[in-house]
């Protein structure tokens, strides 16, 4: 054994550092491989035949004209699905390919594989489908009346006869937002020559994909391997399957690799959207502004198939009051089934919709009792040790609502006047307004959301940590969607093991158990937790095995003596696999009561907007935010999540909406679905509120969703302040400002 004495080293790029991401350079030089860029020798191109009707009976499908085109290798319909005909993330209710009836506009009816993409698309157009059109159900209130619902959730807490002297009622709507990730759905399926298949496709959750793909292919689990691949954003759009089973069916049928890439219009129909919502609220309070009772009725339209509507509705219902105390609550939520496009996960997951409503109500309540809007919120702020106003759950992890309010209140208010530079005025480069017409408004909002999966779901993540001659390797099936998991997991391993060289390797479903979904702001806590646990165990084993008390880049130390240098240590095999579970949760009782959530996070936003009320044009000038992050593992990454999340919240506030006409999307392009550009981006100032006590690694909380939740109502509030208009709907459109009545 080599021994020497010397100084212990300090690990580089551990937690708390804003480390540079390892995939940055390949992404900057264009060499990073996305699902769109995959290629296999001899591969075919796949494409999809989609329904042109929101609801119709399929009378017949004639694939012969398509098969007659040279270069076409397969045209498959529902009759060709080898296994389970249906799929679904929570409930398998969605046909792999439509059989008797199509239930939404753009629903897949058949898939085609051909030698090249153009031929595949010509063949898809040549498939003759005879439809008998049926009357689509597109009104969620009518669906609710008819009992066409995926889930109803009834919450009753406290004395149902409580009443307060101050009453505020309101009706609110949220439009259908799209995740619009820059990379569209894409993938490659490669037959393995033994009846199985390797799938490389856009995903947030490869193990859930795997389970559904295996069922519909009728194969054994070990015959399908779902591989993590590079993806261009997700934001919830990639939790559900779209092209996955289709690709595998085509590959197995033809015996050749098959690639598919959705074009942008297909992407808009091919993934689920944020649920549009209608919400009726009644708040009752004392004259000093303390909440006495909150009643809400929530209607979220789930569209044609279940997707995650049940869970989104649950979130909307449980977070219907926001981060406030109230001992008398009644919430009735329903997620409807219609012939509109299916809705499912999008960043914020149900908490976004109700936040717009409860924060609008809190503003109106503040006005009714004559209080500053932040002071009203402070008087009602929920805290650790309180019970959730809706579910009655005891809040045991840190919940710094008051600290968020105080921090927001202490941040300097952006004071620069709208100048004469037309680029900085509402309408921007359109040169439509002048400073004299512009009114400034300021608005506040707070939002609350759960972290991780809820309602008794067995939510876990597995990670494997190895010490090798190349440094620490963390193996995981968790998906990097851009958020920076590749940094955070490596930082956690570095800090625990004291070794500066660490990298994350994404492995397929046959090589490791599930990491769960990259959603619900959960991977830093869950996959981070698994990485932490595996690294702690590995460190203990190494120290015990080598009689040391400290591990770092040099090797194993005992006191000031290096007992085993790293070069010698890594000649042995060091590997630990850990499965991390968050504290257990439970299903609700008949009154919607129980411990449904593992952890919570709160954030607050202050928006400063400039508005030309006559033209209805808005410029969001500035957003200040304070966010509960537990412990900041990578401050720059968190800032990236905050700024990016706020931009999506601002988008929902003033421009982003899928416009439907009898179930058809009328703006499924980037020309017509408006996305914020760099000229729409407000300056953002962010304060991170750090408190110990959460169960995430080093006390970390998830950070991805809170920025998107309360930024939308803060902007709406600021526009109301600037214009005096009621504005009960987001996105706020120019006509809503220029043509609507004043608030009463």
């Amino acid at each position: 054994m080599t021994t020497e004495t010397g100084r212990r080293s300090t690990v580089r790029d551990g937690i708390g550092e804003s480390t540079i991401r390892p995939d940055g350079i390949p992404k900057l030089t264009g060499s990073f491989e996305y699902a769109q860029d995959l290629h296999a020798e001899g591969m075919l191109w796949g494409t999809t035949v989609r329904s042109p009707h929101p609801r119709a009976r399929i009378v017949s499908i004639d694939i012969a004209p398509a098969l007659a085109i040279g270069g076409v290798q397969a045209v498959l319909t529902q009759d060709d699905v080898p296994g389970r005909a249906m799929f679904g993330l929570e409930h398998p209710d969605q046909p792999v390919l439509a059989q008797d009836e199509v239930r939404y506009w753009g629903e897949p009816v058949a898939v085609v594989a051909a030698e090249d993409e153009d031929t595949a698309r010509r063949a898809a157009a040549a498939v003759v489908v005879e439809y008998e059109e049926l009357e689509p159900l597109v009104d969620p209130e009518e669906a609710d009346r008819r009992g066409e619902v995926f889930r109803r959730l009834r919450i009753r807490r406290g004395d149902q006869d409580s009443a307060g002297p101050v009453v505020v009622e309101g009706y609110y709507e949220v439009g259908m937002q799209d995740q619009a990730p820059l990379g569209t759905e894409a993938g490659l399926a490669v037959p393995d020559g033994h009846g199985g298949v390797d799938l490389y496709a856009t995903s947030q959750y490869v193990h859930a994909d795997h389970e559904q793909v295996v069922a519909s292919l009728g194969l054994r689990p070990d015959q399908v391997r779902s591989h993590p691949v590079g993806i261009g954003g997700a934001f919830g759009a990639r939790e559900d399957l779209n092209l996955h089973i289709h690709l595998c069916m085509l590959a197995l049928h033809t015996g050749r690799p098959v690639k598919m890439v959705y074009h942008r219009d297909e992407s808009f129909t091919g993934h689920v959207h944020r649920h549009p919502a209608r919400m009726w609220y009644r708040h009752e309070a004392d004259t000093d502004g303390r909440l006495v009772r909150v009643e809400a009725r929530l209607l979220l339209d789930g569209g044609a198939y279940a997707s995650t509507t049940a869970a989104v509705l649950a979130n909307a219902s449980y977070f219907a009051v926001g981060p406030y105390r109230c001992d008398s609550v009644a919430v009735d939520g329903a997620g409807t089934r219609t012939n509109n496009p299916p809705c499912g996960a999008m960043r914020g997951f149900g908490a976004v919709q109700v936040c717009f409503a409860h924060e609008s109500q809190m503003d109106r309540l503040a006005a009714a009792v004559g209080l500053d809007p932040l002071e009203l919120r402070r008087r009602n702020a929920l805290a650790t040790g309180d019970r959730m106003s809706t579910t009655g759950q005891l809040i045991e992890t840190p919940l710094p609502v008051t600290e968020v309010i105080d921090s927001l209140s202490a941040m300097p208010l952006f004071a620069a006047e709208p100048g004469d530079d037309p680029m900085a005025l509402p309408g921007g480069s359109g040169l439509t307004t002048e400073a004299v017409h512009v009114r400034r408004g300021i608005g506040y909002a707070l939002g609350l959301k759960n972290l991780g999966f809820s309602e008794g779901y067995d939510d876990y993540a597995q990670a494997r940590v190895r010490l090798t001659a190349d440094g620490v390797v963390i193996e995981t099936a968790a998906i990097e969607v851009g958020q920076g998991l590749v940094n955070v997991l490596a930082q956690i391993a570095r800090t625990v093991l004291g070794v500066s060289r660490a990298e994350v390797r994404h492995v397929d479903t046959s090589q490791i158990d599930s990491a769960g979904s990259t959603s619900a702001s959960r991977q830093t806590q869950l996959s981070g937790g698994a990485t932490h646990q595996a690294a702690v165990r590995l460190r203990e084993r190494i120290l015990v095995g080598h009689g040391g008390d400290h591990l770092d880049d040099a090797g194993v130390w005992s006191g000031d003596t290096l007992v085993t240098p790293m070069s010698q240590l890594v000649t042995e095999s060091w590997e630990e696999t850990a499965t991390f579970r968050h504290p257990p949760t439970e299903k609700p009782d008949a009154d919607g009561q129980g411990t449904m959530h593992a952890d919570f996070a709160v954030a607050g936003h202050r928006a400063v907007v400039d508005v030309d009320p006559d033209l209805g044009l808005v410029r969001v000038v500035r957003i200040d935010t304070a966010q509960d992050v537990g412990r900041a593992l990578n401050p720059e990454s968190i800032r990236g999540q905050i700024e990016g999340g706020i931009m999506q919240g601002v988008g929902l506030a003033v421009m982003e909406e899928l416009v439907l006409d009898q179930g058809r999307i009328r703006n499924a392009t980037f020309t017509d679905y408006l996305l914020p550009t760099i000229l729409d981006a407000p300056d953002v100032e962010a304060l991170l509120i750090e408190q110990d006590g959460s169960w995430g690694p080093f006390g970390a909380k998830g950070v991805g969703e809170p920025p998107t939740i309360s930024s939308t109502p803060a902007v709406a509030s600021a526009i109301r302040a600037a214009t005096g208009k009621e504005l009960n709907r987001v996105p706020v459109r120019p006509q809503d400002i220029a043509l609507s009545g004043d608030a009463v």
């Binding site: 350079i25 958020q483 000229l679």
Partner: protein, 154 residues
């Protein structure tokens, strides 16, 4: 027909058998997948390239029209073996998340700094207004180029 042009400094040719965009030729025929296809209608800038000194969306250029032209893609922006300053600054500022828009921002920013080495914040934003990023909210991208321009926000 055979189309010949200069691509990232090297003479290149391809066969155009049917109407196809420059973007599809770059990605599918010439093995340069760095230019990304995201909207196919010139709205998002993910496929930005420099065509005879001008910043264009490759999805809006008919491939046959580059005959005799000079095209630079994201793969040709950096000096060999290194990074272009705009790449370096984006990397350091945390301006990369999912990265799908990143090649377009790199090309558009390289074009900006070629024309104007010390752009103001307003000039940076105007030059990049044709590039959509869905992840970052643009904050880190603006900070990256303010630093590169020597105009770091106080």
């Amino acid at each position: 027909m055979i189309v010949s042009f200069r691509l990232n400094g090297a003479e290149t040719s391809f066969r155009a058998n049917h109407p196809v965009s420059l973007l599809d030729v770059l990605r599918d025929e010439l093995a340069l997948p760095g230019s990304k296809s995201a909207c196919e209608q010139g709205e998002c800038g993910s496929c930005s390239v420099i065509l005879d000194g001008e910043l264009v969306c490759a999805c809006l250029v008919m491939a046959v029209d580059v005959e005799g032209s000079d095209v630079t893609t994201v793969e040709g922006i950096a000096p060999s073996g290194g990074l272009h300053p705009v790449q370096e600054s984006l990397n350091r500022a945390g301006g990369v998340q999912c990265g799908f828009c990143t090649p377009g921002f790199v090309v558009a920013a390289a074009d900006l700094f070629e024309r104007n080495p010390r752009p103001s914040t307003a000039e940076i934003k105007e030059a990049l207004a044709g590039n959509i990023c869905r992840c970052t909210g643009y904050g880190a991208i603006v900070r990256a180029f303010e630093r590169l321009a020597g105009r770091e926000a106080p």
